[in-house]
């Protein structure tokens, strides 16, 4: 047995050094006796007793001195044995000896640099068979891994360049276990905040954001929004995520949509992983903010957002990273984000991305509690002037397809005003700024945005405008019915960007708790408009208890518009300002689009494809 041979011989350190060197040299010549023993020592990892540990450590140390004799081809098996060792399996003595060897190997020969770096990156994660041995082992391993990476980069200055690629390549895919993904992400963030942060960090951060989108795409809307939900509706804007799912159950088996969504998300693995990953990033952003480096991290995030999230088809959750980052630093990050979005809308190249950008902007300005109202006014001004310049020279009449960007802009303006009008009117300076913006001219233009934009938004907007006595717009729309939905669908295109409100309440439970303090719910806004109506039983509490505040009658006879209508309807309730009871109780006029849309809507309906 190899071990017993080596055990019996008692070497001094320098003797062992020589023996190892000779073993390596002999192996090249063909005499592999001692060399094979060496390999066998390296391979042992199960339940090592003290002597075995000591032997392993001594061998590793001996090899550290002999790296100049190591040959990448002739000593393949030895190298393979060393590089497949996992720090997680050993005590600190072996760990220290092993990392010294790695540093020595990497700095001795260019061939080994990538191999050593790969091994270290793989050590970000515990081996599959590893049983959770607690936090102390994790700290021991990861501290050593990171300090070794730094040591290697001191000796081999181009390390960060190689590491970038390796970190990206070795990232676990989304189907791996949650704890593996999380620990890898933790390590990426640690690299980002470390010495090599400037070089490796931003690539790692971008890779993380890409991973978020991968998860996002995995969670399909069809799973969440089940089409047989015509009857039910959103009573609440999922404000009460704290309630356990069961509380929302009512009348026996009947579950509200909210409950079903929550149930789905809590059973969907991808959603859980995404939730945890986002929370990890949130915490990291908070620590960056405390350390004063949020702005530079934000710049990386913003670039990644523009490249991946903005261009992804209706990202559901990943954008909340930006929201949270902005909330930590409204003056810098918050404004940077909005400015980037409006720049894309005004002067971007790709029309779909431009429409997406303005949808993001509208949803952001409406929902971010932390943005000063004066800034909202400034952004509005830019949007309006962009739309105004566009339509100034247009002779065309209503044409949803040709003037998509214009309609998207108008819809965005109206959406923001639905949320922020009251706040703007309260401050005289902003009120006059608002009145000078020429919103009337834009909305009354013969391109007829009021007839093309999403009906629910338009009606809400007109109602508000009438209530507050500003602008001079028609009180209600002349036409009702199917066509409206048709027109907005046309301008929205295949992607249905007319119904894209990316910062609608986050459906991930853990994330939501971070977002909530900085978030504007429609109910908050609504209550400021209709304080008197609270008494009428349209308050949140009633709604939360599952009161059928607004039951959109089932028997709608719109052929194709149905599924779309449902999707809008179901979310619309939350935005209601009309007393919900009226149409229900009095069987009165059926008003289809009475609510503000406030959910991200997938274009799952076949007719929109």
């Amino acid at each position: 047995m190899g071990l017993s041979n080596m055990d019996e011989l008692s070497f001094t350190d320098s003797e062992l050094d020589n023996h190892v060197r000779n073993a390596l040299k002999d192996a090249i010549q063909g005499d592999c006796d001692f060399y094979n023993q060496l390999v066998a020592v390296i391979h042992r990892k199960e339940a090592l007793v003290t002597e075995e540990v000591a032997l392993l450590v001594t061998c590793l140390k001996a090899m550290t001195g002999a790296v100049s004799c190591v040959h990448i081809v002739h000593h393949r098996s030895l190298l393979a044995a060393i590089l497949s060792m996992s720090l997680w399996d050993y005590g600190t003595d072996v760990m220290d000896a092993l990392v010294e060897l790695l540093i020595s190997l990497a700095s001795s020969n260019g061939d080994y640099v990538d191999l050593c770096l790969e091994m270290l990156v793989m050590n970000f994660m515990p081996p599959p068979a590893h049983s959770a041995r607690g936090l102390s082992r994790k700290i021991q391993v990861l501290d050593r891994v990171h300090s070794t990476l730094e040591d290697i980069s001191n000796l081999v200055p181009l390390t960060p360049l190689r590491l970038q690629k390796i970190v990206r390549d070795k990232m676990p895919h989304i189907y791996m276990k949650e704890h593996v993904i999380m620990i890898y992400a933790e390590n990426i963030l640690r690299l980002e905040s470390g010495v090599m942060g400037e070089l490796v960090g931003s690539t790692g951060l971008v890779a993380l954001m890409d991973k978020l989108i991968e998860f996002d795409v995995e969670i399909s809307w069809e799973d969440i929004v089940q089409d047989d939900f015509h009857k039910d509706m959103f009573d609440i804007e999922l404000e009460d995520l704290e309630n356990p799912v069961d509380d929302i159950v009512q009348d026996g088996d009947e579950l509200t949509r909210d409950a079903l969504i929550q149930r789905f998300l809590s059973s969907n693995l991808s959603a859980q992983k995404l939730d945890s990953l986002m929370v990890l990033i949130f915490e990291y952003l908070k620590s960056c903010s405390e350390g004063g480096r949020l702005v530079q991290v934000f710049e990386t995030l913003l670039q990644s957002f523009q490249k991946t999230t903005l261009t992804a088809y209706k990202s559901k959750f990943a954008q909340f990273i930006m929201f949270y980052a902005c909330s930590l630093d409204p003056d810098n990050c918050g404004k940077m984000f909005a400015n980037a979005l409006i720049d894309i809308y005004v002067s971007g190249l790709n029309p779909v991305w431009r429409m997406s950008a303005v949808a993001y902007l509208a949803s952001y300005l409406a929902r971010a509690k932390f943005i000063p109202i004066s800034f909202v006014a400034a952004m509005l001004e830019r949007m309006v002037s962009c739309c105004f310049l566009y339509c100034e020279n247009q002779d065309d009449n209503i044409n949803p397809k040709a003037h998509k960007l214009f309609y998207a802009g108008c819809q965005a303006i109206m959406y923001v005003l639905c949320f922020r009008l009251k706040q703007l009117l309260v401050i005289p300076r902003l009120k006059s700024q608002l009145l000078l913006m020429r919103i009337d001219d834009v909305l009354k233009h013969h391109l007829s945005p009021l007839q093309v934009c999403l009906l629910s938004i338009v009606e809400e907007f007109l109602r508000l405008v009438k209530e507050n006595g500003i602008f001079s717009l028609p009180e209600t729309l002349v036409e009702h019915g199917l066509l409206e939905s048709e027109r907005s669908r046309i301008f929205g295109g295949i992607e249905r960007l007319d119904m894209f409100f990316p910062f609608d309440p986050c459906l991930l439970r853990k994330c939501d708790s971070y977002i909530r303090p900085n978030y504007v719910y429609w109910s908050m806004v609504r209550s400021t408009y209709y304080e008197d109506e609270e008494a009428e039983g349209t308050s949140d509490e009633d709604v939360a208890e599952g009161d059928n505040g607004m039951n959109i009658p089932d028997g709608r006879s719109h052929g194709e518009g149905d599924s779309d209508g449902d999707e809008i309807d179901s979310s619309l309730d939350k935005m209601s300002i009309t007393p919900r009871d009226s149409s229900h109780k009095f069987g009165g006029r059926m008003r289809r689009f009475t609510q503000m849309p406030s959910k991200i809507r997938p274009s799952t309906s076949p007719e929109s494809l």
Binding site: G65, A66, V67, S68, S104, S107, S108, N109, G110, D111, V113, D114, N154, L155, V156, P157, L158, L161, R162, L349
Partner: protein, 223 residues
């Protein structure tokens, strides 16, 4: 320093049509993708570039999408260490079996113990590792000092140099510069003749020590 050379290259940079309104930025980013990688055509690692674009006209190249090719002349700084060249680098780590240095801030160099001449002995003084010459006590190699060594080989992919301290004119750069007589005398005549050939352009006539030393000293100070 040996191994560095400037060259002028005639290049054509092909740019995507979307870059038409920011061509100079695009050119610079294309050129920067060459940095710190070994390039066969130029025969070295590109360390710096200085482009000068002659005209505003570019030829449109037909293809799947039409790229346009911008012609430019660029001055490039190349690094191409060849065996037996003498290079200098800052020592970053010393071990009983090796000396590690970094050349020009980006290239790692290692000298294995087989390549360190016996003159040098590894010691640990006051917690610090140092290589001291047995013959000249003041000749030390410490972390942070500048090391002069000869190139054995150069790994083009990772830009890793394997060096040697066998030759007498290698070691701690500062000591070598101050004490040229010490180490030049240590040279054998054969080595001296060889170095004379390299430096004095093929004049192989034997001169006495002083006359030889002076030109060498002058050249060393000049380089």
């Amino acid at each position: 320093m040996a191994g560095l050379e400037e060259c002028e290259a005639n290049l054509v940079v092909f740019l995507h049509p979307s870059k038409a309104n920011c061509a100079s930025d695009a050119i610079l980013s294309e050129l920067s993708s060459l940095l710190f990688t070994y390039n066969e055509t130029f025969g070295g690692v590109v360390l710096a570039y200085d482009p000068s674009i002659r005209s505003n006209l570019a030829k449109i190249v037909p293809g799947t999408f039409p790229c346009f090719g911008v012609q430019l002349k660029a001055k490039l700084l190349l690094f191409n260490p060849k065996p037996d060249m003498v290079l200098e680098g800052e020592v970053v780590k010393l071990t009983p079996n090796s000396i590690h240095a970094v050349v020009l801030g980006f290239s790692s160099a290692v000298i294995a113990d087989d390549d360190i001449r016996d003159e040098f002995k590894h010691k640990v003084k006051g917690g610090e590792e140092v290589y001291v010459s047995r013959t000249h006590r003041k000749h030390k190699i410490k972390v942070g000092a500048i090391l002069r060594f000869t190139v054995k080989s150069f790994d083009e992919e990772i830009l890793h140099i394997s060096g040697s301290l066998l030759a007498p004119h290698t070691g701690g750069a500062r000591w070598l510069d101050k004490n040229t007589d010490e180490w030049s005398r240590a040279d054998s005549t054969a080595t001296k003749r060889n170095t004379d050939k390299l430096l004095i352009n093929g004049d192989t006539s034997m001169k006495n020590d002083e006359q030889i030393e002076k030109p060498k000293k002058r050249r060393r100070q000049q380089s």
